[in-house]
Structures are given as C-alpha cells and as structure tokens.
Amino acid sequence: MKERNLALRLACLIATATGAPIASAQLLQPQPPPDSAAPVSAAAEGIYAGTRPSLLQVRTLVEAAGRQSSIGSGFLVGADGLAITNYHVVSQYALEPKTYRLEFARPDGTQGALTLLAIDVANDLAVVRVEGADLPHLEFDPTALAGEIPRGERVYAMGNPLDIGFTIVEGTYNGLVERSYNERVHFTGAINPGMSGGPAVTAAGKVAGINVAKRLDGELVSFLVPASKAAALLERARSGAPLNPAQTREEIDHQLLAWQEGFYRKLDEQGFRATKFGPYQAPESAASWFNCWARTNAEQTPKPRAQMDSSSCSSQSSLFVAEDIESGRAELTHAYVRSSDLNAFQFAAFLSQYYASASMSRSWSRKRLTQPECREEFVAPADAAAAPVLRAVWCARAYRDFAGLYDVSLTTVTQDRDREALVSRLAMQGVSYDNALALGQRFLGAIAWTR
C-alpha cells in the first residue's frame, strides 16, 4: 500500500484475476463444497439455501481477450432481473465501456450479459439488469431500511470470495460507522475480495446491507452500504432512463460534483475551531467525520535539532472512482516546528523539506490528472497585528476525465520568527475550483497569532 497511512486506508474489494494480494494461504486452501460442509449453524444453512439462487457473480471482461479482469458479487432484487452490486465492481466498464464488458454467472451455472442501468458513486452502488423473467430475488429488510437494526444483530454476508464459490459469512451488525461522512454500516465479519456487491442478509433472509469494503489493518472490520441507499438507487433505476454507456463519465462527473458540493457546504456549516500551536493558532474542522492523528519527531534518534509536532486531520470520506483515482478526501495538517539549536539559516533549511514537498502528490496517474500548476507568494494577513506574514504555495491539478474537478493543496509557512514556524497544509481531492478557493481563503485567513 505504498506510503499511505494504513490506519486511514479502507480497502476496496475488487479481486483481480491474477489473485488478490490479501488472499491468505488458509483461504486458498481447498474447502469442502458448501453443500456438504458442516453447517455454521442451522439458521445459516437455511439462509444460505434460501438466498443462494438470488446471488450473482459479476465479472468484468476485457472485450478483446474475452477473459475476466475483475470479479465481484451482486444479487437480484426483482423478478424482472434487476440486480444490485457495487459501483467499484463495474467501474472499469463504467469508465471504459469500449474496452470492457460485463457478465454475470449464477450459482446454477447460467451465464449472460449484464446491462448497467444506474450508478451511485458516493454510496458505491450500481444497478444492473440480468435478462430473464420470474427470477428468484431478495427483498430489503424493512428494519434495515428504517435504519433500526440493533447493534449486535446477527447478519450474514454472502458472495463469491476470490472466485472460489458462493459463500456465507456469519457476522455482527454494528450500526453506522460513527465518524464517516459517507454512511457505512460497520459489519464485524470476514468480507473478502470478490464478495463486493453481495448482500448481507438478516436471519429472515432479507437484505440489511451491501458488502463494500474492509479495513486491511484490522481483523474482521468490514463495511456495508446501508440497504436504504440501494433501495433508493433501485427506485431511480426503475423510474429513470437507463444509463447510456457513452455518457457514464458525465454521470460520474455530475455525481462527484454534486457530492463535493454537499460535502464542502457541510464542512463550512460545521465550522472550524482554532487550535493552538505554540504562539500560533490554526483552523481544524469541527466536523465529527475528521480523524486526527498527532505526530512528533521528539523520539527520533539521533535526537533531531529541531522539534516538530504535527496534527493531521483527514476526513473519512474517500470515494472510489477508479483503481487509479481516489476522490473525496480533505486533509488539514499543521506542523509546529521550533529549534534553539539551529541557526536561522539551518532552521529555514529544516523547514524547506516540509515546504518543498507541497508540489508533490503522494501518488498520481498522468492518465487521470494533469500536470500540477502552482502559484507561490508571500501573503500578508488582512490584519497585520493579528497574524504573521505567510509564505504560501497553491498547487492544483485537474481531473482529465471529469470536468470541474481538481485536486488542490495549499501550504503555508509563517514568516515572523527565525527559529519557530507553523507549516500548515490544506489538501482537497476531487473538489470544484470555487469550493477549493473558498475553503483555501478561509483556511489561510484563520492562521494567526494566539491572543
């Protein structure tokens, strides 16, 4: 996972045909066929038997080769062949409809083409159609739709992990994830690559949520999309016109723009609190869906000659767009640096490593993003008595596939003391330029001296 902070990273669940890296040895060991397996419990056996005919394996095939390049799961929700899966399961096809095509395989061995009807990028959902009539299908659980399933309820996640066969996994419903901007249900159970898009059903065999992701840094910490989101998208797919494959990108663009509009409005509404860093104060979001971590270099050996204490808050709002584009995250970082040991020049050199990295992105695909454009200046505060002069650098890249969306970062370094400084950074993924400017202005304006 490169240099990313594992603790903050959700794993999406696409298993590639070449084998998912997280497939452990035990999982790949031959398992007895489900039918002859000793039942997990009598209840699970009944649920499995009742639900299995409604399950689908969703395959993305490379058009030219006719072979699968990724797999996921799905489930039928109507006798007319409508089925739910994850957006990320069909994302390759959605973005490149000429290169890929979709296919389903049912547990009884029947296969066929899938039509993509609707997508919901923010909730990672898609509605697809299987040709056929009088198909077995699942119902949504009414208590789940109302969001009233109690914590601790037993839930069964179903799907085809790692392409080894349809499977049932018993787990626990743990309610909505508390500090996530996008609504996700915390499911304690083993969801594995390939199960994405499969249903999580209650003991009554009704859909409580849709398997979507798991944490790679924990055990059995998995996530479901709430059933209500799927029901809403299904309603839209039934009433609206089906998605034109050639216009899927515009649809994704449209959804991402609408999503960020809502996200940055709420961020603005929630407001910022001024956090104290030595003689400075800087803004941190008051929204609950920010996850903050502190870092210090005090314990490094050899002992650093400048002390750095940083606080980094990132929003729990990542959106999967494609394997090589992640969107939806905002991050506010402040590092308070000071030294009594270094002289002014050496201290500036120490700060430079934080400043010069402003134009670097953690990772980028030039197929997806343009070259960055940066602007740097010394910026004087509006009120010279309240805040220091800042060295500020703004860097932005445009999304090539999606008009109106940008990745933007704003980095500032206070310019009032020789051996003490606050380095602040605001980073926004998949944001409109206007929202980025507005938040950037608010961020920069909130860096000040403490009173």
């Binding site: 050199a349 430079s352 670097m360 070259q371 500020a392 932005a396 999304y399 940008y406």
Partner: protein, 333 residues
C-alpha cells in the same frame, strides 16, 4: 652577420623543416646556390622521414634569382602544401611550403618580417588569482553546507565535498595542461588553474546568491534555471582554456562552444521537463531562507487568491489535451 646590412652578399636564405604542429624542427642556412634534401647522408639537409626518397628534392637558384624546387625522381613526389597535384618543379616565392613524404619544408628569405618583440613580464603570474579563487570557492561551499546542516554536524559530510572539488580541480587542470603542452608546447598549469578557479567561483557565487534571491525576491526561476548558468560558465571556461592553448581561429571556437552549450541546455531542459511530467512535479521554491531576508513585499490575500484563481484556465486547457506519450507509466512517491 646581419644580412640586411650586407648589401654585397646575395640574399641569404634559410630552409626550415616543420614539425607535426608546424613548429620549426630544423632550420638551416643555405649558402650554396643549390641544395638537395633526402634521407641519404650525402644530402645537404637530411630528413628522417621514411616516406622521403634517398635523394628527393633539389632546391636551386634559377638564372633569374628565384628559387626552384625540383623532384629528383622520388616515388612519393613533391607537392605544394595544401595541393593534391603532384609537381615536378615548383617555383618558390618564399610564402609557400612543400610537402615531401610526411615532411613539410619551406624557404625563408633573410628579408622575412618577424613579429614585434614581446615585452618581458607583461604576463602576470596566474597563481595568486587561481589559488585565491579556489580558496574562496572552498569557503563558499563549506559555508553553504554548514547553513544547510540540520542534523548533527559530521566531519565526513564536509570532507567528502572538499575532496571531490579537489579531485575535479586536479583532473580538469591536468587535462587542459596536457592538451596545452601537446598543442602549444607549454603546459601553463597556473593559467588553466586560474581559468577553472574563475569558473568555479562564478558558479559558486551564483549558487549561493541565486538561492537567496529566489527566496528574497520570490523569483523561483533563479534556481530553477540554474543549470543554464552552469552550462554558460562551462562554455566560457572552455573558451578561455582553448584561447590559452592557441589564439588562432577564436570566433570559430567560440561558435562551436556556444553551440555545445546550447545543446547541453536543450538536452537538460528536455530531460527536466520529461522528469517533471513523469513524476507530476511542479516548479516551486525548494529552499526557504530566514524571514528577515525577504525583500519583496507580501501580497494581500485577495491578490494571492485572484492569481490562484487564474490557474483554473490553464488547468482546464491542460485537461483537454491528451497525456503525453508513455502515459501508461504511473509514478508513485
């Protein structure tokens, strides 16, 4: 022995055998009206060139007083220098040289004009400047290292660059001195050292001043295009080295070096732009300095954000362009 004043004597003539680099290898006065040249020991001028016949050439004064060169029946023949047509007889006026085998000979009349006497001591010793410049370079580099020191100072971090510079100075100066010795006969080590010292000093000063300037004036181009200055200084140094070896054809040398510098700058620019595009790097200031060094005024936030807003147009334009060739490769930090 001054022939100019001896009107009674006929005009005296010297024969000169030229070496590989047109330096005079042998000079002999001709008193007779006719001399022969060749490898055999009964010639007046004995040549050690294996491509010269035993009796190759006779040079004799004709009846009109002009000197005539005549092939004595050699295998390789006689040529006027610069020509490709073999000649049996060549009338010599004094200016032209003859090629026999691989040897070049010419006649010089006693009336030949010689360059003016050069004053002694007009050339100052280059050593004080050379050593001074290099000492300043060392001081600047060590100062630069010290000002960039953010960890525990370690002697090795200072020693390695110093030894590297010493090695570069030694190799570079020796190289030019050897070339100098080969082509002009004088090594002129001090002069070459002085040229290198001046070049290093110029670059070192720019390195430091450019870095401060980029911050103080908020003008990043000063450090971004530092490599251009580097190439120009290198070209200028090479020009002065070449001039020290031989002051002939200077404009041609200057043009060749300018072309090489332009090539170097172009190559490096392309390489940098390719690197930036591969790794998605923007050009920003790489080095902060103490806040007190800032010379330009600070903008107010509105101005800054207006300028930042203007980037949108550039980005939207870039969005519509396809990524460059090799776009499949992805760069990760």
């Amino acid at each position: 022995m001054d022939p100019m004043n001896d009107k009674t004597k006929p005009e005296t003539v010297w024969i000169e055998v030229l070496g590989r680099h047109r330096e005079v290898a042998l000079r002999q006065r001709i008193d007779a009206a006719s001399i022969t040249l060749g490898r055999a020991y009964d010639n007046d001028v004995v040549l050690d060139d294996p491509h010269v016949a035993a009796h190759h050439l006779r040079i004799a004064r004709g009846e009109d007083g002009r000197w005539i060169a005549e092939d004595l029946g050699s295998r390789n023949g006689v040529y006027a220098e610069g020509e490709t047509k073999r000649r049996e007889r060549i009338a010599l006026s004094g200016a032209e040289a003859l090629r026999i085998g691989h040897t070049v000979v010419r006649l010089r009349s006693s009336a030949e004009a010689v360059p003016e006497e050069q004053p002694l001591g007009s050339r100052r010793s280059p050593w004080p400047f050379a050593l001074g410049a290099i000492a300043i370079v060392f001081v600047l580099e060590l100062l630069g290292l010290w000002l960039n020191e953010t960890a525990e100072p370690k002697l090795i971090r200072y020693l390695t660059p110093v030894l590297t510079v010493v090695a570069i100075v030694a190799v570079w100066t020796t190289l030019w001195s050897v070339l100098s010795r080969v082509f002009s006969g004088h090594a002129r080590f001090g002069l070459h050292l002085a040229i290198l010292g001046a070049g290093l000093l110029a670059y070192s000063l720019y390195d430091q001043i450019g870095e401060f300037g980029a911050f103080a004036l908020s003008w990043t181009a000063l450090t971004t295009y530092q490599y251009v200055i580097g190439w120009l200084i290198l070209a200028a140094m090479c020009f002065f080295h070449l001039r020290a070896i031989g002051p002939t054809r200077l404009p041609a040398k200057a043009i060749a070096l300018a072309a090489l510098a332009a090539l170097g700058i172009t190559m490096q620019s392309l390489k940098l732009s390719e690197w930036r595009s591969t790794y998605g790097q923007a050009v920003t200031l790489q080095r902060l300095e103490p806040p007190s060094l800032r010379l330009v005024g600070a903008e107010n936030p509105q101005t800054f954000f207006t300028r930042v807003a203007a980037l949108k147009a550039t980005l939207d334009q870039a969005r519509s362009k396809e990524p460059e060739e090799g776009a499949e490769s992805e760069a990760e930090e």
